[in-house]
């Protein structure tokens, strides 16, 4: 296990057997994510991208194999401990439903800090700072329904970075965006990666995301078929 690794998967299998036929979504995946990476997990629909991301993000546990987060074996953590780990160490950007509809952009970003128990004044300051940094300060007092999809996703990125996590996982963040808007979202994340060294792992089958990845993992039928570095 690399000392540098943020997260590491070892021979991970994931079998869903709630349905009539058990589905083996991952069939022996091993990978290591090091700090500062900008990695895309690419692959066709059903190849297991979301499943893998969920395992890396401590949202789920593998059927066999192990996932280590900063050297900590996730299967040894309770649900509560995994929630805590996510709260402090991992940021998420999902495809949809990212934001709490009743809260403004600023309040949504603050919410993570609220959960962390950060005092109100500091919460507000840090949230505003992040929104300004990401160039969406003018959205601070808008509610999700008053924003475009691209704006919402940028606020979701702001929420993901505000707690300064070790890792940000983004599951098809551009899936609901047109390509120009998607490109701007990617610019934003690249900038965070370049300037602040934030580590990103995406999943996508969107070519424009794939071409931006500095490391590319091709997933097919639950296996990593190919890896590229650029």
């Amino acid at each position: 296990m690399s000392a540098m690794a943020i997260v590491q998967a070892e021979q991970v299998h994931k079998i869903y057997d709630e349905g009539a036929v058990p589905v083996e979504a991952l069939r022996g995946v091993s990978l290591t994510i090091a700090p500062g990476e900008f990695t895309v997990i690419a692959g066709p629909s059903g190849s297991g991208k979301t499943t893998l991301l969920n395992l890396l993000g401590a949202l789920d546990v593998p059927t066999t194999g192990r996932v280590f987060f900063e050297g900590q074996d996730l299967s040894k953590l309770s649900r509560r401990e995994r929630a805590r780990l996510r709260l402090y160490k991992i940021g998420f950007v999902f495809q949809a439903y990212n934001l709490i509809p009743v809260l403004t952009a600023l309040e949504n970003v603050e919410f993570v800090l609220l959960l962390q128990g950060v005092p109100e004044r500091e919460r507000r300051r840090r949230a505003l700072e992040v929104l300004e940094q990401l160039g969406i300060g003018e959205l601070a007092h808008k509610r999700p329904h008053e924003m475009s999809g691209g704006q919402q996703q940028r606020v979701a990125v702001a929420r993901a970075v505000v707690s300064r996590p070790r890792l940000i996982l983004a599951d098809e963040p551009t899936a609901n965006l047109d390509s120009a808007t998607g490109a701007r979202l990617l610019d934003l994340m690249e900038q965070l990666n370049r300037e602040q060294g934030v580590t990103f792992v995406f999943s996508s089958h969107d070519p424009q995301v794939i071409e931006r990845g500095r490391r590319l993992l091709w997933l097919h039928d639950g296996r990593i078929e190919r890896e590229e570095r650029r």
Partner: protein
């Protein structure tokens, strides 16, 4: 830090409430109506029950009685005490005491030319008695006693039995402490009708001096001092005060000691109110469960995201609970806001149940009911209703807790 989180979450919960305005308003109005009904029901019930007891006490018993030690256990004619006027003055100085009346009591026989009947002879000071009990107001014929003369007040029923009318003569006979039988002729001055048929059959009132003469008692003797207090609830404390202030040869009793069954009956009626709380609580809880469940189920993906970004189960539970609790608290506040003016109106004018007054009179309540607001009502409503709201959120909150973030977001 916990509190700070809770304030932050409360803000979120509050906004969540208004996502589905219509649904929230429906549940909210059910809570408001529930509280409104409860408050008025409870205060009217308390008022009615208190009036019932009070009317019984004002019939004859009063709030506190003083006798010679042992009289209550064995009410014999020789168990009188002397210096009644002095004791009366001493008792009257206590600020809780509104009025005091002395009584001379004896079991006796009342005879007319046609019939006779056993009676409780009560020698009273008419003005003093009329300040303590309602007897002066319950005459249906004739007039109240007004002096020393040989006049008697009897119940309508007794008069019928003795076949006497106003102005007729009756002979009263009673055993005296010295073993002799005293007897005297009295003229019927008035007839009374109270809520109690038994009372109307067995009680006979004569001037206290006539009673003393009949029984051969000293001129300052009495069997009983009956006290009316400003507030019945002061009876126990006053009893304690009087017991230490008065000589040991006297006993002090409260109405609780004298008519424990009536007190029990009142408490029982008061307890019955909890049945109403239960019924309304059950009615409310299903509405709340239903609304909260809908609110939770349609937000499962959102809860999935919240869990994903690291919200703990405890906080998610708190969030859902707070939403329901806020409905409960807001509903209770509005329910109170609505019921207080009505309460104030009724407390001032009373609820006139003249239409049912016959039945009520039979219960000793009176036709006009005045609601009574006690701390217990306030406490009950503010405690029980929000609690019910919170209980209604338990199952929905449990559903929210068991959201697997991965599943919930996949369902989108």
């Amino acid at each position: 830090m916990r509190l700070r989180d809770t304030i932050g979450l409360t803000r979120v919960a509050w906004r969540n409430l208004w996502r589905n305005r219509r649904r929230t308003l429906i549940v909210l109005s059910s809570v408001v109506v529930g509280v409104f009904v409860l408050v008025l029901f409870d205060t009217l019930n308390l008022g009615m029950v208190a009036q019932m007891l009070d009317n019984h006490l004002r019939l004859h018993v009063g709030h506190v009685q003083i006798h010679r030690e042992g009289y209550h256990a064995n009410p014999a004619v020789e168990q009188f005490f002397q210096d009644a006027a002095t004791v009366q003055q001493q008792v009257a100085t206590h600020p809780e005491v509104q009025a005091v009346a002395p009584r001379v009591l004896a079991h006796g026989l009342l005879s007319s030319a046609y019939n006779n009947g056993g009676v409780q002879l009560v020698g009273i000071v008419p003005e003093a008695e009329s300040l303590v009990t309602f007897i002066a107001k319950q005459l249906v014929a004739g007039r109240y006693l007004h002096g020393e003369g040989r006049e008697i007040l009897i119940g309508e029923r007794l008069a019928r039995k003795l076949e006497v009318r106003l102005g007729d003569r009756v002979v009263a006979m009673a055993a005296r402490p010295d073993g002799q039988i005293g007897s005297e002729v009295f003229r019927v001055a008035g007839l009374f009708r109270t809520v109690s048929a038994d009372f109307d059959r067995t009680m006979a009132f004569i001037p206290i001096d006539q009673a003393r003469a009949l029984l051969g008692l000293p001129s300052d003797a009495a069997h009983e001092l009956v006290l009316l207090l400003n507030d019945a609830r002061q009876a126990e404390t006053l009893k304690a005060h009087l017991q230490s202030a008065l000589p040991d040869t006297l006993e002090v009793l409260t109405y609780r000691d004298i008519v424990p069954l009536l007190v029990m009956q009142r408490d029982l009626y008061a307890q019955m109110m909890y049945l109403i709380y239960l019924i309304i609580g059950v009615a409310l809880i299903f509405g709340i469960i239903n609304a909260m469940l809908m609110a939770v189920l349609e937000r499962l993906p959102e809860f999935g995201v919240l869990r994903a970004i690291g919200m703990s189960e405890g906080r998610l539970f708190l969030l859902v609970s707070l939403e329901s609790l806020l409905i409960g608290l807001l509903g209770t506040a509005l329910g109170w806001g609505l019921s207080l003016p009505v309460y104030a109106y009724l407390a001032h004018h009373g609820l006139n149940l003249a239409a049912f007054s016959e039945a009520l009179t039979a219960f000793g309540i009176g036709a006009v009911i005045y609601p009574r607001l006690t701390f217990r009502v306030v406490w009950n409503a503010w405690l029980i209703i929000p609690l019910v709201a919170w209980l209604g959120a338990l199952y929905p909150a449990w559903r929210a807790l068991h959201v697997e973030p991965v599943e919930a977001m996949r369902a989108v």
